[in-house]
C-alpha cells in the first residue's frame, strides 16, 4: 500500500481494490443509507484525487482516504438532515427513515449492524467515530460542533444500549 509521495492513478486503484469495502462499510454505519454511503465514497475519492498533492510523506494512502471518506459521510448526513447535531435535551431516535429505506436497511444489514438502529443519530455517530474509527473526543466534538460533555454522554448511552442488545443476541443464541 502506498506510503508517502504523490499518489498515482494506480495507487488509487489499488486502494479502491483493497479498502473500498471498509470505506463503504464505515459510511453505512454512519449514514445507515446505501445511497448516501455510495455518494460519500465517490465524493471522497474525487476530493482525495484533487488534493493528492497534499498527501503527506510517511502517511498511508488508504488511511488518508479513509479519513476523507468519514468526513464525506458526515457531510452527507448534514446535507440530508440540517441541524441534526444541534444540542437537544434528549436525543430522539431516527424516525425519518421511510418504510422503503427501512426495508432496504433490514435486507442489507446484519443483525449486529441493525443493533445500531436502536441508537439516536448522535449516539450512533459518536460511537462509530470513537470506538470504530478511534477519533479523540475533542476531534468528534469539533467535527460535530458539540461540546465534549455531550459527546461523552452520547457515547456512554450508545454503549449502554449496545450492551443490552448484545446480551439479547447472546441469550437468543444460547436458547
Amino acid at each position: 500500500m502506498k506510503i508517502g509521495g504523490v499518489p498515482t492513478q494506480g495507487d488509487f486503484h489499488e486502494a479502491i481494490a483493497t479498502r473500498s469495502d471498509r470505506w463503504y462499510s464505515a459510511c453505512l454505519k454512519i449514514t445507515r443509507n446505501p445511497d448516501m454511503a455510495a455518494d460519500a465514497v465517490q465524493d471522497a475519492l474525487l476530493n482525495a484525487w484533487n488534493k493528492r498533492h497534499q498527501f503527506e510523506h510517511g502517511a498511508r494512502l488508504d488511511t488518508w482516504i479513509h479519513r476523507i471518506v468519514i468526513n464525506a459521510a458526515l457531510n452527507q448526513i448534514r446535507k440530508s438532515k440540517p441541524g441534526i447535531f444541534e444540542p437537544l435535551e434528549t436525543d430522539i431516535e431516527d424516525v425519518t427513515a421511510t418504510p422503503h429505506v427501512e426495508l432496504e436497511n433490514h435486507e442489507l444489514e446484519s443483525r449486529l449492524a441493525r443493533s445500531l438502529s436502536g441508537l439516536s443519530e448522535v449516539e450512533r455517530i459518536c460511537f462509530v467515530l470513537k470506538h470504530l474509527e478511534q477519533w479523540r473526543i475533542a476531534e468528534i466534538a469539533t467535527q460535530l460542533e458539540l461540546n465534549d460533555g455531550r459527546v461523552k454522554q452520547a457515547i456512554f448511552r450508545a454503549v449502554k444500549k449496545l450492551r443490552i442488545s448484545m446480551q439479547d443476541m447472546q441469550r437468543e443464541r444460547n436458547e
Binding site: 492513478q9 465514497v41 446484519s110
Partner: protein
Amino acid sequence: MNDDLDNIVAAHRADIHKAPPHLVRQWHVAIDEAAALERGREHKVKSGWRPNSLFWGMAVSAALAVGVAIGFLASDRAITTQVPQLVDIQPQTNVIPAAFTRGLAAHFRDSKDQLENLDIESDSAMLILQLIEQNRLFQKAADQSNAPQLARVLRAFEPILLRLAAAETAPEDAAALRAQLSFELNVMLTKLANESSDKTHST
C-alpha cells in the same frame, strides 16, 4: 465490564459490509475519468488559447448571465404575485421553487442543444467543462433545496460529461455518449414539463 465493551467494538469492527461490485467499478471509473480530464486540461493549457474556445467560453458565460438574470426576474415575479395570497402560503420544505425548475429546464435545454451541435473535432472540452460547472451549481442548489433525488440525477450526468471531455475518448464513443446524454436530458425535460403542467392543473 470493559471486556464487554471490547467484545462489542470487536464485533462491530469485524462486521464489514461489502461494497456492491457495480459501485466499486464506478469508483475505479471515476478516478480514471478525473485523471483523463486532468490530462485533457493540461493538454489544452499546453496548446494555448484558440479563438474557438474563447468564443465558446464567452457564449456560455453570456448564456449563464442571461439565465441568472431570468432566474432573478422569475423569482421577483413569483414573490410579487404571491404577496396578496398570504393565506394560501404553505410550509415550503421539500418543495422546489418554480423559478429553480424553470432555470433547470433551461439548463437541460441549453445543454442538449449545445451537445447536439457540438463539433467533436474542434476544441469542445472547454464547453463541456463549462456545462459540468453549471451542472454542479444546479446540483448544489438541489441539495440545498432538499431535493436529494434531483441532486443524484444531476450528479449522474457528470461522469458521462467527464468521459465526453476526456481527450482520449474515441469519436464513435463520443457520439454514443452524446446520444445517451441527449436521451437522458429529453427524459428530464419531459418529466419537468409534466410536473409543471400537473401543478398548473391542480391550481
